[in-house]
């Protein structure tokens, strides 16, 4: 069982976000593995274990100046990592990103491709399905449980009202929600081992995608960025046993009571 996990290195979500001068998300600071991706990595490791062996490959696109995020995935237990890093990829939209990831995934034969439902910085949420379409694979999004049964992947998929049990033939792509599994902490041994695991850096030319991806391939542009109308904070009280009373009065004032 060979599984690929699409991951993204993102700026620390706890730090304030901003745009750079070209209205791209500012990613100049330290990059970490998107927490949303740790669930996919963990799920892949568990599925490979259950299948009795195989490789987990993490695939990413973005700056390779800092690969600490990929090392995190390797320290968790992934076998190897591939990152496509190229100046021409700045300003890539979701479809460009999908074309790049699909080109990498095509180089090997994977039984299953996992991804998060969306990244925690851009949260477009369409890239994985675009990848599946480019590869001609079935996809099941919003998985809250994943199991492999011979040549079929079985997924509990979130719905508006509960969940569906969905099955697809392998190879397939599945996006997992946070909470699908509990990501492991890397052991000291894992962290040390990660330092010598294969980490391949590819360019757009390596994939034969020159001129098709990145800003060159983006067909949308930002017209303006303005501060939204903000809500004003109202009254704030420290509860001194009268907190509930204050809430009741407020609910009366807006005629909920």
């Amino acid at each position: 069982m060979n599984i690929a996990v699409c991951v993204k290195q993102i700026p620390d979500p706890a730090a304030p976000q901003s745009f750079d001068s070209s209205n791209n998300l500012n990613r100049s600071g330290k990059l970490i593995l998107d927490e949303a991706d740790t669930y996919g990595v963990e799920m892949a490791l568990q599925l490979v274990d259950k299948a009795g062996g195989g490789e987990v490959t993490v695939v990413s696109m973005g700056s390779a100046a800092d690969v600490a995020g990929l090392r995190t995935a390797l320290a968790m237990g992934a076998t190897k990592a591939v990152i496509v890093s190229d100046d021409s990829l700045r300003g890539s939209d979701a479809l460009s990103t999908a074309k790049v990831l699909a080109a990498v995934l095509k180089r090997e034969s994977f039984d299953l491709i996992l991804a998060a439902t969306e990244s925690s910085d851009g949260y477009t949420g369409t890239t994985p399905v675009q990848v599946a379409e480019l590869l001609g694979l079935p996809s099941i999004t919003f998985a809250k449980a994943v199991a492999i049964d011979a040549s079929t992947v079985k997924v509990s998929r979130q719905t508006e009202e509960g969940y569906d049990e969905v099955a697809a033939r392998l190879p397939a792509l599945v996006t997992v929600t946070a909470g699908v599994v509990e990501p492991r902490y890397s052991s000291f041994k894992g962290i040390m081992a990660a330092k010598s695991k294969p980490l391949e850096t590819l360019s757009v030319a390596d994939l034969g995608l020159e001129g098709q991806v990145g800003a060159a391939g983006a067909r949308e542009e930002i017209v303006s960025v303005v501060a939204s109308e903000s809500r004003q904070a109202g009254e704030k009280y420290v509860d001194e046993g009268d907190g509930a009373e204050k809430v009741v009065s407020f609910l009366e004032s807006i005629k909920v009571l």
């Binding site: 949420g125 919003f142 508006e160 569906d164 907190g243």
Partner: protein, 321 residues
Amino acid sequence: MTLSTLWVLAEPSSGSFSSTSLELLSHARTLATTVEAVTWGEGGSFAGLAGEYGASTLYDVGDLAGALPGVPVAHAIEALIAGHGAPDAILIPASYDGRDVAGRLSARLDRPVLTNVTGLVDDGGLLTEHPVFGGSQTVTAKFTGEGPGLIVVRAKSFAPEPSGGPAATVVAAPAGDTGAAGTAVIETSHVEERTGPKLEDATVVVSGGRGLGEASAFALIEELAKLLHGAAGASRAIVDAGWVPYSHQVGQTGKTVKPLVYIACGISGATQHMVGMKGSKNIVAINKDSEAPIFQIADLGIVGDVHTVLPALIEALKARS
């Protein structure tokens, strides 16, 4: 009006179109001369509803035989474009299936997709508005290449308003062969029971977060919601922790709610959460941490422990009834 035709993905949802679909049909009428809808499954029998909200044609992909909608609906739309020409843009609800259709269609047509849209403006061309950084800023964007642009719109971005139009003309729009990609099939569906109004329709929403301390304390949220004839919601943190089902989640990756009053209990106010509830008419926040970001948008903030404030509030409400 500078746009000639908009298509709206009209998602069937328990005997109707989803509320976001109706919102999109309503708003599309103000932007384009012709509005047409694309649906599947039971949606094919809602020609009256589609017309009432302004669609002149209802393209019906038909029964999907259990397949997840993403692949067959994208195939059908691609065939419609080949046969009827492309609309200026396709508006798609930001739902599970809507996002699947958008991604599939984007790759099949080689057209970009703009997501998390909360506003659409006709400015001699279509502009899309996107809240970013927890809604503190708004990005306005537009497509620059050949259409149709694919636009994924968040729930409750527009008001649903019937136009009283005649029933739409139903036109069959079969998906054809979807190959290996179309093999994802729904085997069984499970509906999680909940009582009271739906989260997205409730006039009162009481939500709980990590500050509740443990899963069992969510009972306080449910009891308060019930006393106020409202619905119980949750932050992503406690959904991820498995305390409550995902169907309760309010926020970026959950539901968007705009109730008359939103009562946030033990919720700090991560941007991910605020995006889903900051459109509420009134916001009440109860949180131990006086510096919690939620207080910056609360009309009434109580700095206190939910474990003492909520039981007192529940008692006070019981005493009144």
